[in-house]
């Protein structure tokens, strides 16, 4: 045995799968979260094009019917099938949450990384803007934006985006500042690697993964927030279906038809659960070196 023969004792060689998705699938709660999430996305995709009953057409003869075989979650005050409406609203609720988070993630990452890596005046300027955005409470800011732009789904998305980006920019900035001083970045600089390649190859992937984990944990909250605004009548406008709006409608008839609550509340619950399970698992499986 030569002195060169140094392997880590106690660990037998084993195949390590380095793809994040495979490791996520092997993680018990990650697997459950992914399964629920996939089922919900499939449900939303089908609901966007086909539902058992027309989601928006009223049928007053059928108003406020309790759950039955034809209407498993009952019908609302104008006789529309609750299940069909929940199914049709799914792509708006889930899609909007993903859209807002995706946009917030991208804007936050770019602004934050730019501030952290450029430094100087650019950093000061961007971060003061972010500070201003952060001092205003998100909810109030979103209300103000909706007041300015008028209620509506697209305006709601813009309002949420403006309320949230600064937090991600702050996070991305501090992670970039930290990453910039890592030994492997200094080594690359010394080797004469151009700056843009260090940023793309060394710094951004790690920062993006960490910001992404935080964003995935926020997905549940985002679905809740969207539903909340729709519940207050500031999001999707009638007769369009959306989970939060459905929940708001069900409130009016709660003493008469409590079943109206089940479908939208259950679906919101499941999507928040799925997002949190996947977010937690992602944090676990991203190796200590990677995150």
């Amino acid at each position: 045995m030569s002195a060169l023969d140094i392997t880590r004792p106690g660990t037998a060689p084993r195949a390590v799968d380095r793809r994040l998705l495979t490791r996520l699938r092997r993680h018990p709660s990650g697997r459950a979260g992914l399964l629920i999430g996939l089922a919900l996305i499939l449900f939303a995709a089908i609901g966007a094009v086909w539902t058992p009953h027309a989601p928006d057409a009223p049928n007053y003869a059928n108003a406020l019917k309790p759950p039955s075989l034809a209407h498993p979650f009952g019908t609302d005050a104008t006789g529309r099938d609750t299940f069909s409406r929940a199914m049709n609203g799914a792509h708006r609720s889930i899609g909007a949450a993903l859209l807002v988070l995706g946009a917030v993630f991208l804007i936050g990452l770019l602004v934050g990384a730019l501030a952290g890596l450029a430094g100087g005046v650019i950093d000061t300027l961007l971060m003061r803007v972010a500070d201003i955005a952060m001092t205003l409470p998100g909810l109030v800011l979103a209300f103000a934006m909706l007041g300015l732009l008028g209620p509506g789904f697209v305006n709601l998305l813009i309002a949420l985006l403006i309320a949230d980006w600064a937090w991600y920019a702050r996070l991305a900035r501090s992670l970039s500042l930290d990453a910039r001083k890592r030994p492997h970045v200094v080594a690359a600089r010394m080797a004469g690697i151009p700056r843009w390649r260090i940023i793309l190859g060394h710094i951004l992937p790690g920062v993006a993964l960490q910001v992404g984990i935080v964003a995935s944990l926020a997905l549940g909250g985002m679905i809740g927030a969207l539903s909340g605004f729709s519940f207050l009548g500031l999001g999707v406008q009638p007769p369009r279906a959306e989970w939060g709006a459905l929940l708001a409608e069900s409130r009016l008839y709660f003493p008469l038809a409590s079943w109206l609550l089940i479908a939208p509340a259950g679906l919101i619950f499941l999507s928040v659960l799925s997002a949190n399970l996947v977010g937690n698992a992602l944090r676990d499986v991203a190796g200590p070196g990677e995150a």
């Binding site: 140094i6 004792p9 080594a187 190859g201």
Partner: protein, 488 residues
């Protein structure tokens, strides 16, 4: 003599079924120093926790474990709490980590009595500290932990561990957070408590100097135990021989005939924060091709700043700096860092990190396959030929990562290699290897500048060693004359 610690067939099984320690038998008699020596993952810390009753809930500890004649297998938590401090004391690796930064040192020592409901006078604590070599303890012990040096604070932990005169002390790497020249006095302080000591360490040099008997741990088994002399003269197990290889002298150096000067610093100073902080006061340094120059000094003396000036990433604010034109070419100076894992890109396969210097725009463009081949041959040069080139740094050991970093630092044949504490995270065998690889690079004509606080490493490695204190370089000495130790 009656053993103070008797382990027979000690086995530890974690809740998940993993068995980090299997069938370990040894005993320690009073006043003896028994060392457990092994590489990382050998089960050293698991044994320490089992001997203290500090294993996680659900861990099964079986066999015989007698502390001072009393069987502790299956002892309740309350029984362990009574035993700790009275029958077994513990000295941890990092003394700062064990102290609440908001409370003065004397409170931490007094805790050893208070947690057993006993009272103690400050005078008694000061006396204990004085006896362990803390001068002026009465006045100093009201200071906070961060104002103490590591060696002083480690003495305070020893005073706390030995407060109730337990017959046995467990010391888990008690010196690895300290400068090498403090190790001797810490071990003396440990023995001065009069207790038997179980010394847990990966540092074979330290263990052979201080222990009465040594047990070699390998993959959770005690493969050999004997006196240091017997082990060095007739090592019985392959692991023992592997650990002993770290003590082998480095191959002699063929002196480079023609030395071209590369770098010259004359009275260089660096100030930070508009002159308020003097990081470097007056530093002189010179290095030429094929030379190995060591820089040694206590933490905070300006070693790293000096290194950054030499690397060209920090400009001096005073004095004269001359750099050969060859050093200004990008990639001419390549670094090796203290943190081996952090010096490789975490999300890249290892070969990509190793071959990165080849992708610099001023070098001829190579295809991905050619770069991979170059990385593989560089990796086999540093003894990493048999690892998966697609592995990520987190899958490798510290020693393997540092060798990969060395492969990267030498892949383009740089003019100068700048190493900042390259061995402080490594065990003996890896240290030896890193030393040899840096030597090889110097043989090929690279200038090698090494910052380290490991006296013996620099002594074996460097042509010249420059000592630093408080931002000044003190003297350049040939490594044959080790520094006279000023402090006790």
């Amino acid at each position: 003599m009656k053993p103070v610690l008797n382990c027979r067939g000690l086995t530890v099984v974690y809740p998940g079924g993993a068995t980090p320690v299997a069938d370990i038998s040894f005993s320690v008699t009073s006043g003896e120093c028994f060392a457990l020596l092994g590489g990382s993952g050998a089960g050293k810390s698991t044994i320490a926790r089992a001997l203290m009753g500090l294993h996680r809930r659900g861990t099964s500890v079986t066999g015989v474990l007698q502390l001072g004649g009393r069987d502790m297998i299956g002892a309740t938590r309350a029984a362990w709490r009574t035993a700790r401090g009275r029958r077994v004391g513990f000295v941890a690796q990092n003394p700062w980590a064990g102290c609440d930064p908001l409370r003065p040192v004397r409170d931490h020592v007094a805790e050893a009595w208070r947690c057993h409901g006993l009272t103690v006078s400050w005078r008694e604590i000061a006396g204990k500290l004085e006896r362990l070599g803390v001068g002026g303890a009465g006045a100093r012990m009201v200071q906070h932990p961060h104002t103490w040096s590591g060696g002083m604070l480690q003495r305070a932990s020893i005073a706390a561990a030995g407060a109730l005169a337990p017959p046995l002390l467990i010391a888990d790497e008690p010196t690895s957070a300290l400068d090498a020249d403090r190790a001797q006095s810490i071990l003396d302080a440990l023995r001065a408590t009069g207790a038997a000591v179980v010394l847990i360490s990966h540092d074979i040099g330290l263990v052979l100097r201080h222990a009465d008997r040594v047990g070699i741990l390998h993959r959770g088994a005690l493969v050999e135990q004997d006196t240091p002399d017997a082990l060095t003269s007739a090592p019985g197990h392959a692991e023992t021989r592997r650990l002993l290889a770290a003590l082998a002298p480095l191959p002699p150096r063929a002196t480079c005939a023609e030395k071209t000067p590369l770098l010259r610093l004359d009275g260089v100073s660096v100030t930070h924060d508009r002159g308020r902080v003097r990081a470097l006061d007056s530093a002189d340094l010179g290095i030429g091709t094929g030379e190995i120059v060591g820089i040694q000094g206590p933490s905070g003396c300006g070693k790293s700043t000096l290194l950054r000036v030499a690397m060209g990433i920090e400009r001096p604010t005073g004095g004269r700096l001359w750099r050969a034109a060859t050093l200004d070419r990008p990639g001419a100076v390549l670094p090796v860092f203290q943190d081996p894992v952090g010096s490789l890109v975490p999300h890249w396969p290892i070969w990509r990190s190793v071959s990165e210097p080849l992708t610099a725009p001023q070098l001829p463009r190579l295809s991905r396959a050619a770069r991979r081949d170059a990385a593989l041959s560089a990796m086999s040069r540093v003894g990493l030929g048999d690892i998966d080139p697609e592995a990520r740094p987190s899958e490798l050991s510290m020693g393997q990562c540092q060798r990969a970093a060395l492969a990267r630092a030498t892949i383009t044949g740089p003019v100068m290699i700048v190493a900042d504490e390259p061995t402080s995270a490594l065990d003996g065998a890896s240290t030896w290897l890193v030393g040899k690889l840096l030597r090889d690079a110097a043989e090929r004509g690279a200038a090698v500048l090494i910052v380290s606080h490991d006296n013996s490493f620099l002594k074996r490695m460097a042509d010249r060693v420059t000592f630093m204190e408080a931002g000044r370089t003190l003297a350049v000495r040939a490594p044959a004359h080790p520094r006279s130790t000023k402090r006790p």
